[in-house]
């Protein structure tokens, strides 16, 4: 048994925790009464959700004419929000799958909430897909189901149909991955449960888990293979999202750089969102020993790397628009930077390209306050990126007489608010009723990463365990 960790690694669990402390610290939140802070936060998110639900309900009732779309700008906030949320979702899978494959032990404290975030973000994204269909009750027309029109099938050549498959596969596989990770921890809560209700519910959902060696051996293969298939899956999802644009012939969209550029942007915004959520969670739930400055720093480093990739992609796009010699393409990019939507473009440039570069300074990337502010800034920037790509490419087309601007109505805004309400309501429910940190994974890496791990010495005076920090 080796728990060897590189000597340059900082400890990932501080405070000299024992296995039992981990169980206690994480279960405390689930078992106790909800705190006042939680109740207030949950109440506010429910109100936001209710207002958003009204707006979305109105949109569904009246049709998407209530949005500010016009003949020229036929896609705006709906698709912007969709791409934004899907992108945010990617970080959860990245953290749990890719970092698992790379054996990054620091992922264990954050993967549970990041995966939960993935699922909720993809649900938010799905709400925009449904809304922008116009007649959401006919969403099954996007599926290859036998019908009375022929049968007339969906077009498997179309990236929009690829998207239907990609998003639904991604959502369901992420859900399975997350739930499988939860089962052993739910069993822990079941075995500690005091009340009848929690005995019943955690008992039902922990599937009769016992943690036998045989089950664990299979379980580890299941996790590994799920991680192995989720990694290309997550890359395929945003690649396909980018193809919704890239396979069209609209200047500004028709570029081959889109797939890698979108994937990098997705990781970038997703990690920023994980960062924002974790910085709040660690304070509210007093998890400073599990989510340490080291974790925050690692996340910031990934944000810098992906932010730089995104920055290079922006510059490459610009260069290629000029180098291609296509007038329409060049105009589109000049219009983005200097046209009526210049403010959106420069907002995007500042937030996404300039701000993450501040993380080169160790003082900044280990500062909790700055990390939080910058993580929000990055997500603002990433929303503007999608807005710039979508609206500024559409609003001035080949025919100057049809040039137009896009102005959001209260329903564009309200539907966006809906997604926030949905996201935070779900996240708060998750944070109250489920363990926010993957207990068994933290325990399994503790010997290598916890301070003063050999927290107990055997009475019989057994050999001292060597723990490399």
């Amino acid at each position: 048994m080796s728990h060897v960790v590189s000597p340059i690694r900082e400890t990932l669990v501080s405070g000299g925790k024992s296995y039992h402390d981990v169980t206690n610290d994480i279960c405390k939140q689930v078992e106790g009464e909800p705190t006042k802070e939680w109740k207030i936060a949950f109440g506010v998110s429910c109100l936001v959700f209710a207002y958003g639900a009204f707006c979305l309900g109105y949109t569904w009732w009246q049709g998407i004419g209530v949005w500010g779309l016009n003949k020229t700008v036929g896609w705006a906030w709906d698709i912007t929000n969709f791409v934004w949320w899907v992108g945010i979702g990617h970080a959860g899978t990245l953290i749990s799958a890719v970092l698992l494959l790379f054996r990054q032990k620091w992922r264990t404290s954050i993967n549970r909430s990041a995966e939960a975030m993935t699922i909720f973000a993809v649900l938010c994204a799905a709400s925009f897909i449904l809304a922008h269909m116009g007649r959401p009750w006919l969403f099954h027309w996007a599926l290859p189901l036998p019908n009375t029109f022929g049968s007339l099938w969906v077009n498997f050549n179309s990236p929009l149909v690829w998207d239907v498959f990609a998003i639904s596969t991604y959502l369901s596989v992420s859900l399975v991955f997350w739930y499988m990770g939860l089962v052993p921890d739910l069993a822990t809560i079941r075995d500690r449960a005091q009340t009848k209700a929690s005995k019943f519910w955690y008992g039902a959902f922990s599937l009769g888990w016992t943690g036998s060696a045989k089950t664990w051996a299979r379980y580890e293969y299941v996790s590994l293979i799920l991680a192995g298939i989720s990694t290309p899956l997550v890359l395929s999802v945003h690649t396909i999202v980018s193809m919704d644009f890239a396979t069209s012939v609209i200047p500004g969209w028709h570029t081959t750089i889109f797939p890698p550029y979108f994937v990098a942007g997705a990781i970038f915004s997703g990690f920023a969102m994980v960062q924002s959520l974790l910085l709040i969670t660690r304070v509210v739930f007093k998890l400073e020993d599990y989510i340490t400055i080291e974790h925050i720093e690692m996340m910031n480093i990934i944000i810098t790397v992906t932010g730089s990739i995104v920055g290079i992609a922006y510059l490459t796009e610009f260069f290629i628009a000029w180098y291609s010699g296509v007038e329409y393409e060049s105009y589109c990019f000049i219009n983005r930077a200097t046209g009526p939507y210049w403010w959106a473009y420069w907002m995007m440039m500042t937030c996404n390209v300039v701000s993450p570069q501040l993380f080169w300074f160790k003082k900044i990337r280990t500062s909790i306050l700055v990390s939080f502010i910058l993580s929000v800034v990055v997500n603002v920037g990433m929303w503007f990126e999608r807005f710039v790509i979508i609206v500024s490419s559409l609003h001035r087309d080949y025919l100057p007489s049809s040039w137009a601007m896009f102005t959001p109505t209260m329903f564009d805004i309200g539907d966006y608010i809906f997604s926030f309400g949905l996201f935070f309501t779900l996240f708060f429910l998750f944070a109250k009723f489920l363990p926010v940190i993957n207990m068994f994974e933290v325990k399994s890496v503790m010997k290598g990463v916890s301070t003063n791990y050999p927290f107990k010495k055997k009475a019989s005076g057994e050999k001292e365990k060597e723990t490399v920090h």
Partner: protein, 174 residues
């Protein structure tokens, strides 16, 4: 024979120790039923002597099944049932079908593999587990010894368990 099964339960409180103990107990000629741990320990299943899991084979098979199903669906709809020229491409435009085929393969692999996992470990919603010690999902490592499958006496086995580092030895009947 009455329906109760009698188990001797050794409780350990360290993951490295329990792996060493498994080998020790086995070498003393005691047959171990199973070891229950709060987190996966590499090499524990090998030490107990469990056969290697065949889950990856199941996953691969489900992946193949998924690929076959989804490619059949696409070729039936796009080539046989209602062929249409779209964007000047062949009816069977293979490169266009790669994304959906991939997603289908992943979907079948994930659900098939997890389903196999649940069935093979007989885990289902609402199942009441056979728990030897409630602390086995918290911080203790539990070794269960089925008395019916062992010839040695209880006191003998208890001595062996204690010698291998067990902090407690309990009796559990089901």
């Amino acid at each position: 024979m009455d329906s109760t099964e009698r188990y001797l339960v050794g409780v350990y409180d360290d993951d490295e120790e329990v792996v060493a103990a498994v080998t020790e107990v086995k070498n003393s000629g005691v047959k171990i039923e199973e070891v229950y741990t709060p987190f996966p320990i590499h090499g524990l299943d090998v030490a107990i002597g469990h056969p290697r899991t065949r889950i990856p084979i199941a996953a691969f098979m489900f992946g193949c099944l998924g690929l076959i199903c989804i490619v059949s669906l696409i070729s039936y709809t796009m080539y046989f049932d209602w062929p249409m020229i779209i964007g000047g491409k062949d009816y069977f435009a293979l490169p266009d079908f790669i994304p959906v085929s991939f997603e289908g393969t992943v979907l079948f692999t994930a659900f098939g593999m997890v389903g196999t996992f649940l069935v093979s470990n007989s885990l289902w919603p609402g199942k009441v587990p056979r728990t030897f010690d409630l602390r086995s999902t918290d911080d203790k490592f539990i070794m269960a010894i089925n008395m019916a499958k062992n010839k040695k006496s209880e006191s003998e086995i208890e001595t062996i368990l204690r010698a291998s580092g067990a902090i407690e030895v309990n009796v559990k009947q089901f």
